[in-house]
C-alpha cells in the first residue's frame, strides 16, 4: 500500500480528550507511522473549521486515506465520512480511532492514556491503508407501510400516514382494534371519556381509503430490508363471512355458551363463544372462539348459524395466509398488565375483594359488567372503604425494577372515581407520588382536596385474618406509615392493586421476528433513548407506544405520530442507501461446500447449481460477516471488514504495544 497518503487528525474534544491524553504528542508520534503524510491536532475536529481542515488537506496534499482520532464512531463516523465525501474522497477510505470513550474517559493515568491513544491511532493507520473505496447501493422504497398493533399508538401512526396519502396495513391480534385504551372509562388528568375520544379514531382508521385492516391476525414472518420488506400475515379464521355479516349481534345473543372474558373484560365479565368484544368494536364483526364453541367441541349446536339472518356463519372457514410488500414497519404492540398473583401477600386471586387495576377500570366503565357501579365481587355491595396500592410489581427487584410510570396517575384517578361513585373512604398507599406531566400535579392536588387519605408506605400485606376488633370481615392492609414511623393496619372493603406494566409475554419472539432487540426487561430497544426514541437499530423498523417502555396515552400518541413522521420522511426520500459493506464470494476458490448458506441469518446466500458455487445476494446481505467466520477456505470477504484490514489493525495495535514495552514513552510537553 505504498501509494497510500494518510492524514491523521487528533481531536482535543475540548478537555474531554486533551485533559487526559497528550494530543500533541499523539499527533507528533503519528507523523512517523508508515504512509502518514500529515498529522495534526485540533480543539474540536467535528466543528466546521475542523472538518474544513480535513477537506483542505485532502485536496491540497492529495490525501488518499484519512484517520480521525476522537470519539466513538457511533457518534461522528457519519460526520467525517461526509467531510471526506465533500473533498472527493470515498467515505470508506476513512477510519476512526476512539480515544475518548475507550481511552481518555476510562483511563486515569495520563501517560497510559497517551500510550493507548497512540496504539489506537497506529491500529487505525495500519488498517486504513488497506481500506477500499465502496459504492453504496440505492434501492427504491416501497411506499406502503405495515403497522403492527391497533392500540392508540398504532391507530395514531396509521392515521398520520394514511392521511398523507400512503397506504397502511394495520394488523391487530384481537378481534377489534382499540387496545387497552378501549377498556378504560376515564382518562387522566382531564377525565375525558376514553371511548368518546378513541372511538372516532378507530372508525376513522377502519374506514380510511388508505388503510387495510387485518384484525384477528398476526404477522408470521418478515423478510427483506428497509424499503423492501415482504411480510406474511396469518389472518385467523373468524368463522364469519365478513362481507355478509352486518354486525347485527343476533349470533352473540343466541349463543348458549358463556365464557369469562379474560381479555377485554379483564376477567371480571363474561362474553359468548361467538362475540364482538365490545359494542364499539372495529370492525363490528364477531369471531367464534374455537376453544369454547360447543359446535367445535361436540359437533352440535350451531345456534348462531340457525339464527344468522344473512347466513354469514362459516364453520369451515380456514386461516388465510397473506403476503404483503411494505417499505417500513411500525411496531406498536403495547404492554401486558403485571400479574398480581405473583405477589401472594397482596391476596389477588385468593381474596375476592382484591381487584387489579384493569378489573377496576371495567367496573367503572359504563359499558362494563356492572354498568359502571363500583361494587364488591358479590356484584351488589357498595364498598365503604377502599385501599389503593401503588407500585404493584414495579420498583421491586423481586419483580420489575422499573417505575411503570402510569400507576400514580391511574391510582389518583381511581381514588377520584371511587369517591365520585361511592363516597367511600379512600386510602392510597404509595412510595412516591410521581406526577411530572402537564396538569398531572394539579390533578393530585384535586384528589388531595377530595379527602383521600394518603399513606406513605409500601404495603406489606393484605389479609383477611383479623387481629383486633373492627377488623373482622374486612380486608386489612398492613403497612408502615413512614411519615409517622408506625405500623398501621387499615381495614377496608375493597383493595385495588395499581399493577405495573410489563412487556408483552411474547415480546422477545416478536423482536426476533422483526430483527430488533429487547432490553433486559424485554421492552423493545430504541435506537437512541433521547435523540432517536422511535427508530430501532434495524432500518425501516420503528416502535411506538408502550412496547418500548411504560407510557401513558399522551406519550403513546406522540410516539405514534413521531414514528409516522420518521416513516414518511423515508418514503419522501424515495430511495434508501443500503449497507455497502456486504460480503462477496470468491468463486474461484469456493469449493461449494454450502456451509455458509445456513450460517446466514438473512438467507442471502444462494447456491449456483450450474457453477457449484455460493453466491451472495447483495441487497439481502446486512454485512454481519458470519459467513466469513464460517468459510474454511476464506472464500468469502466482507467488504470494509476484510481479514487483511482487521489483521493489520490488530498488528498496528500490537506493534505499538510491543514498542512501548521495549522503551519508556517520553512525552514532550
Amino acid at each position: 500500500m505504498s501509494e497510500a497518503r494518510i492524514g491523521v487528525y487528533v481531536c482535543h474534544c475540548g478537555s474531554n480528550i486533551a485533559g487526559t491524553v497528550d494530543v500533541a504528542a499523539v499527533a507528533k508520534w503519528a507523523e512517523d507511522l508508515p504512509n502518514v503524510v500529515v498529522s495534526r491536532d485540533y480543539k474540536f475536529m467535528c466543528s466546521s473549521p475542523g472538518q474544513e481542515m480535513i477537506e483542505t488537506d485532502i485536496k491540497e496534499l492529495g490525501l488518499t486515506r484519512v484517520v480521525v482520532a476522537s470519539c466513538s464512531p457511533h457518534l461522528h463516523e457519519p460526520t467525517f465520512r461526509g467531510a471526506c465525501s465533500r473533498a472527493g474522497l470515498n467515505p470508506y477510505l476513512f477510519e476512526m480511532a476512539n480515544i475518548r470513550e475507550q481511552d481518555s474517559w476510562v483511563t486515569t493515568d495520563q501517560v497510559e492514556a497517551t500510550k493507548k491513544a497512540m496504539s489506537l491511532v497506529a491500529a487505525a493507520v495500519s488498517r486504513v491503508a488497506y481500506q477500499q473505496p465502496l459504492e453504496s447501493l440505492f434501492v427504491p422504497i416501497d411506499p406502503n407501510v405495515l403497522v403492527v398493533g391497533g392500540g392508540v399508538a398504532g391507530i395514531q401512526a396509521t392515521l398520520e400516514i394514511a392521511d398523507s396519502g400512503r397506504h397502511v396495513y394495520l394488523v391487530e391480534r384481537e378481534p377489534s382494534i382499540g387496545g387497552h385504551m378501549a377498556q378504560l372509562d376515564k382518562t387522566f388528568p382531564t377525565l375525558d371519556c376514553s371511548a368518546c375520544i378513541l372511538t372516532p379514531k378507530m372508525t376513522n382508521a377502519a374506514n380510511h381509503q388508505n388503510v387495510t385492516l387485518f384484525t384477528w391476525s398476526e404477522v408470521e414472518k418478515v423478510e427483506g430490508y428497509v424499503g423492501n420488506f415482504t411480510v406474511t400475515i396469518r389472518k385467523r379464521a373468524r368463522y364469519i363471512d365478513e362481507p355478509l355479516c352486518t354486525g347485527c349481534g343476533v349470533c352473540q345473543e343466541k349463543c348458549p355458551k358463556k365464557v369469562i372474558d379474560d381479555v377485554f373484560e379483564a376477567g371480571i365479565g363474561y362474553r359468548k363463544a361467538v362475540y364482538i368484544p365490545f359494542p364499539q368494536a372495529v370492525p363490528n364483526t364477531p369471531v367464534i372462539d374455537r376453544d369454547n364453541c360447543i359446535f367445535f367441541e361436540k359437533g352440535t349446536c350451531k345456534a348462531c348459524e340457525k339464527f344468522c339472518p344473512t347466513g354469514a356463519i362459516k364453520f369451515d372457514q380456514e386461516d388465510e395466509i397473506i403476503t404483503l410488500k411494505v417499505g417500513n414497519i411500525i411496531l406498536a404492540t403495547g404492554y401486558d398488565l403485571f400479574d398480581a398473583r405473583r405477589i401472594p401477600q397482596y391476596g389477588y386471586g385468593r381474596l375476592e375483594n382484591v381487584f387489579s387495576s384493569l378489573e377496576f377500570e371495567r367496573l367503572t366503565n359504563a359499558a362494563g359488567p356492572t354498568l359502571g357501579r363500583v361494587v364488591l365481587r358479590d356484584g351488589v355491595t357498595v364498598p365503604k372503604s377502599v385501599g389503593i396500592i401503588h407500585c404493584v410489581g414495579s420498583r421491586d427487584k423481586n419483580y420489575n425494577n422499573y417505575c411503570s410510570s402510569i400507576c400514580c396517575m391511574q391510582s389518583l384517578k381511581f381514588a377520584h372515581m371511587v369517591k365520585e361513585r361511592t363516597g367511600a373512604e379512600v386510602y392510597e398507599f404509595y412510595i412516591d407520588i410521581r406526577t411530572p406531566a402537564k396538569a398531572y400535579d394539579e390533578f393530585y392536588q384535586k384528589v388531595l382536596g377530595e379527602g383521600t387519605h394518603f399513606i406513605r408506605g409500601r404495603v406489606a400485606e393484605v389479609t383477611d385474618a383479623a387481629r383486633q376488633p373492627g377488623e373482622e370481615g374486612k380486608l386489612i392492609i398492613q403497612a408502615e406509615d413512614t411519615l409517622i414511623g408506625k405500623q398501621r393496619r387499615i381495614p377496608v372493603d375493597m383493595v385495588i392493586l395499581s399493577s405495573g406494566l410489563e412487556a408483552r409475554a411474547d415480546a422477545k419472539e416478536v423482536a426476533i421476528k422483526f430483527g430488533i432487540s429487547c432490553s433486559a426487561d424485554e421492552w423493545f430497544i430504541e435506537k437512541h433513548p433521547k435523540l432517536d426514541p422511535v427508530a430501532t437499530m434495524t432500518d425501516g423498523v420503528f416502535v411506538a407506544g408502550a412496547c418500548q417502555g411504560p407510557k401513558d396515552i399522551p406519550a403513546s400518541v406522540a410516539q405514534g405520530s413521531a414514528a409516522a413522521a420518521r416513516v414518511m420522511s423515508l418514503i419522501g426520500q424515495g430511495e434508501v442507501e443500503i449497507e455497502a459493506a456486504t460480503a462477496i464470494v470468491n468463486e474461484e476458490t469456493c469449493v461449494g461446500c454450502q456451509e455458509c448458506i445456513p450460517s446466514c441469518p438473512y438467507g442471502s446466500i444462494e447456491f449456483l447449481e450450474d457453477k457449484k458455487k455460493a453466491h451472495i445476494i447483495e441487497a439481502l446481505c446486512k454485512g454481519c460477516g458470519t459467513c466469513v467466520g464460517t468459510c474454511l477456505s476464506k472464500s468469502i470477504t466482507l467488504r470494509h471488514f476484510t481479514d487483511e484490514q482487521l489483521v493489520n489493525e490488530m498488528i498496528g495495535a500490537m506493534q505499538s504495544m510491543k514498542l512501548f514495552e521495549a522503551q519508556d514513552l517520553v512525552i514532550v510537553e
Binding site: C391, R395, V459, E461
Partner: protein, 188 residues
C-alpha cells in the same frame, strides 16, 4: 460524625459486617420492612428509620435503639424488600455492634442469648432447662410465671434435667476460640 480508627463511616462498617450488606445504601425508605414486621409495633424505630439514621451517621442513636432486639428473625422484611436488602442480617450486625460497645437498650435480651450461648460453648448442645434457669437468675419474674410450664414440660418428658454434651468438645472449643480470634482481628 465520629469515625472509628479505620476511618470508615458507620454505614460502611454496618455494610461490611453484613453478608450482602453493601446494598443498604439503596434503601428506598418504602417501609415494607416495618410494615411486614410481626413485632414492628413494639419497636421504637422501624427498620427503615434505622437505615436512614445509619446513613446519617447517628451511631449512638441506632445502637441504643430497641429495634434489633425485637427482631424475631422471621425474614419477612428480607424477602419482601424491593431492594433486596438483607435486613434481618443487618439487625444481627447491629446487635453485635451494640454488644461490642457495651451499652445497649434495656430491652436487649442479652442475658438470654448469653445463657443460651454459654451452654452451647460448654456442652456443644443447647440446654433449655439450664438456659431458662440461668436466665431466670437475671429475670426472676419470668421464672415465676413460666415455672408451672417448666414443671409440665418435665413431667411430659420434654425437658431433660441434665444437659447432653458432645464427645469432641476440645475440637469445638478450638474452632470457636479460633473463630473469636479471627473476629477480634476483624474489629481492629
Amino acid at each position: 460524625m465520629p469515625d472509628n480508627g479505620a476511618g470508615k463511616s458507620f454505614y460502611e462498617r454496618v455494610a461490611a459486617a453484613t453478608p450482602g450488606g453493601d446494598v443498604l445504601m439503596k434503601c428506598l425508605q418504602c417501609g415494607t420492612c416495618g410494615g411486614s414486621c410481626p413485632s414492628g409495633a413494639d419497636m421504637d424505630s422501624t427498620p427503615r428509620q434505622l437505615f436512614a439514621m445509619i446513613s446519617a451517621g447517628m451511631e449512638d442513636e441506632v445502637l441504643s435503639s430497641n429495634t434489633p432486639w425485637y427482631c424475631v428473625s422471621c425474614y419477612y422484611c428480607t424477602v419482601r424488600c424491593p431492594q433486596e436488602i438483607p435486613i434481618t442480617m443487618i439487625m444481627y450486625t447491629l446487635k453485635r455492634m451494640a454488644l461490642a460497645r457495651g451499652h445497649y437498650h434495656k430491652d436487649a435480651h442479652i442475658n438470654w442469648s448469653k445463657s443460651f450461648t454459654n451452654f452451647v460453648e460448654l456442652n456443644g448442645r443447647s440446654f433449655e432447662l439450664g438456659a431458662m434457669t440461668l436466665f431466670g437468675l437475671h429475670n426472676p419474674f419470668a421464672i415465676v410465671k413460666q415455672g408451672g410450664l417448666g414443671v409440665q414440660m418435665i413431667t411430659k418428658g420434654r425437658m431433660p434435667p441434665v444437659p447432653e454434651r458432645i464427645r469432641n468438645m476440645p475440637q469445638l472449643t478450638a474452632i470457636l476460640n479460633e473463630a473469636k480470634r479471627i473476629a477480634e482481628e476483624e474489629e481492629v
